[in-house]
Amino acid sequence: MTTPLLITRRMTDHPGDSQTIVRYESTGGYAQGKRALGLTRDELVEEIKTSGLLGRGGAAFPAGLKWSFLAPERPAYLVVNADESEPGTFKDRQLLERDPHQIIEGMIITSIANEVHHAFVYIRGEYAKPARRVQTAVDEAYAKGYLGGGIFGSDYDLEVTVHLGGGAYICGEETALINSLEGKRGEPRLKPPYFPAAKGLYMMPTIVNNVETISNLPHILALGGGEYSKVSDSADTGTFMTSLSGHVNRPGNYELAHGITWRELIYEIGGGIPDDKQLKAWIPGGASAPWFIPEKHLDLEISKDATAAAGSMLGSGAVIVMDEDTCMVRAAERLVRFFAHESCGQCTPCREGTTWLEMILRRIEEGQGRAIDLDLLVDVSDGISIGLAWPPKMTTICPLGPSAVSPIMALRDYFRDEVDSHVVNGGCPLKSGGATPQTPRSPGDETASEDGRSSDPASPDPDRMPGESE
């Protein structure tokens, strides 16, 4: 199990200054950006298609295919999605802080391939330091003539704007991100018709790619698409970043080749569970992903297909590990709280459903649960995501709502007894306890949205607990 480091190579070899343009150029940086100017769109698209690179933002969409779909109208735009806010995920932060020029070179390549002359980096607002690092790098690149008018002495112009978000997870969804960048509320748009490739930023063709996806591009050009596709033995090509966190001895970001197993990741790379406790469950691909348990999933390969066949996804690459003492109800509550808080409020099933789920889970955790509550949770979930299937059958504009159902699927399928014992016990049978901090909802508060619609998230009546007859 040897891992060829690509996108974390420079920061690993040169920890002190990998973010500077001097170090970047002295380690081969910007050579591929320059070279791209001499290649045709077809050649570039073909190279990326051959590489097999999949998007790393969550949906695992083939990057080359995305480029080839771009509608012919111009101007076209590129937006690098650095809104990273999915609980458990911190890989993009490392790439932003430690190797920002790699992202800029990736943007140059993408822009040339798609005839883009204005590109954006949308960075979540809480990432002050990463944003400073990227802006510094952008300034350096402008000063050198690698960005701006006539890049690398050619007649190709490329402007880059660094944009800071305002603290809303939903803006990571690509159409919400576009709305936000247009100076509007970050509400997702309906697809169709608002596919970014056709009607994106300012209604023009737009490519949205994740930070990690973009970071791979200089390496694909340097290696050649064919060579890149052979970096891993698995059907999934190249390397991927995983953010490992929770109950493991060595949490952190790891750049790995696809094809290792979960056992290897958690026990070898992650160093196992602290205090030699037992593994209870883990979330394989960020807060949205259905959970895995050791009895069934430990020896599965970490790849897109194997994970999908087992009913989950690699998503944002975040792996959250939970030991034997973890209360599954509490963990589920915490995840559902996130989605309830971050729901933009446009779709009733998501806005109302996630709030109900959060309330029911909290009352179970606090000892007020009833025997019917698990069925009730499943019932409410069914209203958000029909049949609780994975991938979900969508009733909503975007996948945020259905994502909130993943923890409920875990309770239903693997931890029914634990939910029941909460009810019978009148509280949590495990060690963890204490009151849960409740979050006031952020998106859509008392202010009417601009079309005059009240966006107050009609919250459920606290006097009428869910499940009571009306």
Binding site: R132, G166, G183, R185, S243, G252, N253, P437, D445
Partner: protein
């Protein structure tokens, strides 16, 4: 006639020039408006509306959508404790309670002197170093409840002009998500992220 200072107006002009359409500058200008007054006021939002050539209602609709645009008076130090999944697993709730207890400020509130605001937040991308806390969006990882209490006492006593992630990490943190050394010379001076092109919202720590 703008109510903004000369330098803020220059910033605003510069920021708007970075976008193909004026309206896209709403968010950075809202940060600028917060920097002028410490939080977002109606007057500040109206000013943003004028610059972006949209209505104040449209600006308010945007401002209310995002958690980081504070429309209420916010303390000089905004302490944000993560209680999302990984931080919760590793004691983030206890860290929040320690901060609330030591400061006497419940989450979602600000103390009377306008010194400290406390909030709990969803994942701030520091799960590898959980539990994580931010002060004015400057990150500290691997914070124990005891260290959280010390942090609060330090903020109240030392009243640093500029808060700096590396300094606070050294004093009050432990394990980080990733650690490649190198020091960061920038810090934050307000309840908004210190992001250099906006100039007024960040500052260099003087040695």
């Amino acid at each position: 006639m703008s109510s903004w200072s000369e330098s803020t107006q220059e910033r605003a002009t510069e920021i708007i020039a970075r976008y193909p359409e004026k309206r896209s500058a709403v968010m950075p200008l809202l940060y600028l408006a917060m920097a002028e007054e410490g939080h977002l006021t109606d007057a500040g939002m109206e000013e943003v509306a004028r610059w972006c050539e949209i209505t104040p209602a449209q600006v308010r609709a945007v401002a209310s959508f995002y958690t980081m645009f504070k429309r209420e008076r916010t303390g000089r130090y905004l302490v944000s404790c993560c209680t999302s999944i990984t931080c919760m697993l590793l004691g983030g709730d206890e860290v929040l309670h320690a901060v609330e207890d030591e400061s006497g400020v419940p989450h979602g509130e600000t103390d009377d002197e306008g010194m400290l605001s406390v909030e709990h937040v969803e994942c701030i991308g520091a799960c590898g170093g959980a539990p994580a806390v931010q002060v004015n969006y400057e990150l500290i990882e691997g914070v124990s409840p005891t260290q959280a209490r010390e942090l609060v006492r330090w903020l109240k006593r030392a009243r640093p002009e500029v808060v700096n992630s590396d300094e606070m990490q050294e004093l009050f943190g432990a394990r980080r998500s990733f650690d490649w050394g190198i020091s960061e010379e920038h810090g934050a001076i307000g309840p908004y992220p210190a992001f250099q092109p906006l100039g007024t919202v960040g500052s260099e720590v003087s040695e």
